[in-house]
């Protein structure tokens, strides 16, 4: 519990963590005098090259915390630092993979992937060539001309992954990216993600409600309590060696022990979360 970034990765003694949230509280104003505190006093840091998963019951404010790291949402109090610099406005170092469909429906798969480079000023022909290469890397080489509605849910996530990674962000923020997919596709996507990530080890902040997925993918698992005013209530290191295969890692003993240990903490929060949301 309470692993610091430096401890987690002793080999990488980079002074400033990729993401450092300090004492972040997020309060929404709902109406006249009515406020809702989604996240309370959250402190979390992700070292460069570290894969951190945030797990918590539904509605606990995991995504809200991620939006703070992305700069899409300003915290009510507390601070967010990116590589040691205070975050004001959008986090230009981060790529964000959203839970909901976020591809541009009026662009083909190729155009969707290329757009992130074009906005950065890369010439269109070069952007298209690199996008075609990225589509191959996510296994969609033959689907470049398809529009998003012609792709399956898993294929759209692959395009989304390529769209984010082609910009080569230093930080990858993922908000239950594989949530809407079926179990088999999730495993395949998880392995694809680990495969791509292992190439250059970006800092990853991965939000999920699935504890198994969190343990299988990440270096550290952070648990949040049920909302409102959700807090970070636990922080575990995952003692499983890389490279991993997601479907096999679940059979290891270390996986089961850690799962049982975290689940005893998480279970109470999940039940609390259910009680508050009426089981929804």
């Amino acid at each position: 519990m309470g692993v610091s970034a430096a401890e987690a990765l002793p080999g990488k003694m980079r002074a400033a963590p990729a993401v450092a949230l300090d004492d972040v509280t997020i309060t929404f104003r709902l109406g006249k005098g009515v406020t809702y505190t989604a996240v309370s006093e959250a402190t979390l840091s992700v070292a460069d090259g570290e894969f951190v998963a945030i797990v918590g019951p539904t509605g606990c404010g995991k995504s809200t915390l991620l939006n703070v790291a992305a700069g899409l949402l300003a915290p009510s109090s507390g601070t967010a630092d990116i590589f040691g610099e205070r975050l004001t406005g959008l986090n230009s170092q981060a790529g964000y993979l959203f839970q909901a469909d976020s591809l541009f429906p009026w662009k083909t798969a190729l155009q969707n992937v290329a757009i992130g480079l074009e906005t950065a000023g890369v010439a269109s022909s070069e952007a298209k060539a690199r996008a075609a290469d990225w589509l191959k890397r996510v296994g969609l080489g033959g689907f470049a001309a398809r529009y998003p509605h012609m792709l399956s849910g898993g294929q759209r996530k692959r395009v989304g992954l390529a769209q984010v990674l082609i910009r080569d962000p230093k930080i990858l923020l993922m908000d239950e990216p594989f949530g809407p997919l079926d179990a088999q596709t999730r495993q395949i996507m998880g392995n694809l993600l680990l495969d791509l990530w292992s190439a250059d080890r970006k800092a990853v902040l991965f939000v999920t409600h699935d504890l198994e997925e969190a343990i299988a993918l990440s270096d550290r698992v952070v648990i949040m309590s049920a909302g409102p005013a959700a807090r970070i209530i636990g922080d575990w290191r995952v003692p499983i060696a890389r490279p991993r295969d997601i479907s096999e890692v679940r059979l290891e003993k270390g996986f089961h022990d850690l799962h049982r240990e975290i689940w005893t903490v998480l279970k109470d929060e999940v039940l609390k979360g259910y009680a508050q949301t009426g089981g929804g």
Binding site: L72, Y96, T108, T119, V164, R167
Partner: protein, 263 residues
């Protein structure tokens, strides 16, 4: 149902209607007169003879050209205006809020009462008809573009910003395509209204066009002329609608259509 059968049935409807019309207006009953007086309803033969004559002597082309010009101008001017104002209002909520009651007021006004004013302002030429068409087209395009800009999915918008788009790029890659898709979904309606504006304008006072043709025939109780004008107008509208469908298919290729598993 296959395409051929469908077209077969569609033609059948036309044949039956024309046959019934022909029989009712030409076959004498026991009193020696047809059941339906041809003076008020004309006969298919007379109507087609009239249409044939118009096309044979070429007099119809000038009227078709005038109506087409008016409708096209009304459509282009109304669309450009609707797109500009729609964008402006959607991006400036304060402006939209200030003008809201006036927009509703003008939109609720039956546009036909404006026709006499337009005739006074713009004369009996094509521009008074164009103006009438513009008032109809503008609001359809305006409301759709306004909606299209405002209803961009927040996730898509957040994604666009995370991908580093600045305000200009957001306009080009997100707002513009979204607004266009809404506008094109109302293309049939707005093109139809452009034609309505032109024809109604002509009908209320003009020297040329399909509406003028129908009005002239009506003034001399020339029922065959009225029907002939209507048929030419109907064919004209069908052709334009067909062109719109082609344009739509080309531009909205990215939109999900009903599943088609035929190969």
């Amino acid at each position: 149902m296959s395409r051929v059968t469908l077209i077969g049935f569609q033609i059948l409807v036309m044949v039956v209607t024309l046959a019934a019309w022909h029989l009712l207006t030409t076959v004498p009953m026991s009193n020696g007169k047809p059941l339906v007086p041809p003076f008020f309803f004309s006969t298919p033969g007379d109507v087609f003879a009239r249409i044939w004559q118009w096309f044979a002597d070429g007099s119809i082309w000038r009227h078709l050209w005038i109506t087409l010009t008016e409708a096209t101008l009304a459509f282009v001017i109304g669309s450009v205006g609707g797109i500009l104002v729609g964008f402006w209002f959607a991006r400036q909520p304060l402006i939209a809020a200030i003008f809201d009651p006036y927009v509703k007021m003008i939109n609720a006004l039956p546009r036909i009462v404006l026709a006499p004013i337009f005739t006074l302002w713009f004369g009996l030429g094509i521009w008074s008809k164009v103006a009438l068409g513009v008032t109809l087209v503008f609001f359809i395009v305006f409301f759709n573009v306004y909606q299209g800009v405002r209803e961009v999915s927040p996730t898509v918008l957040a994604n666009a910003r995370m991908l580093g788009m600045n305000e200009r790029q957001l306009m080009r890659h997100v707002y513009w395509p979204s607004a266009l898709s809404w506008m094109f979904s109302s293309l049939h309606t707005s093109v139809g209204f452009a034609v309505v504006g032109a024809v109604v304008g002509e009908y209320l006072g003009s020297a040329a066009g399909l509406g003028y043709l129908i009005l002239q025939a009506e003034g001399t109780f020339d029922i065959a002329g009225v029907f002939a004008g209507m048929f030419v107008l109907a064919a004209f509208v069908i052709v334009i609608d067909g062109i719109v469908t082609l344009v739509e298919r080309r531009l909205l290729v990215w939109r999900p259509a009903a599943a088609d598993t035929r190969t």
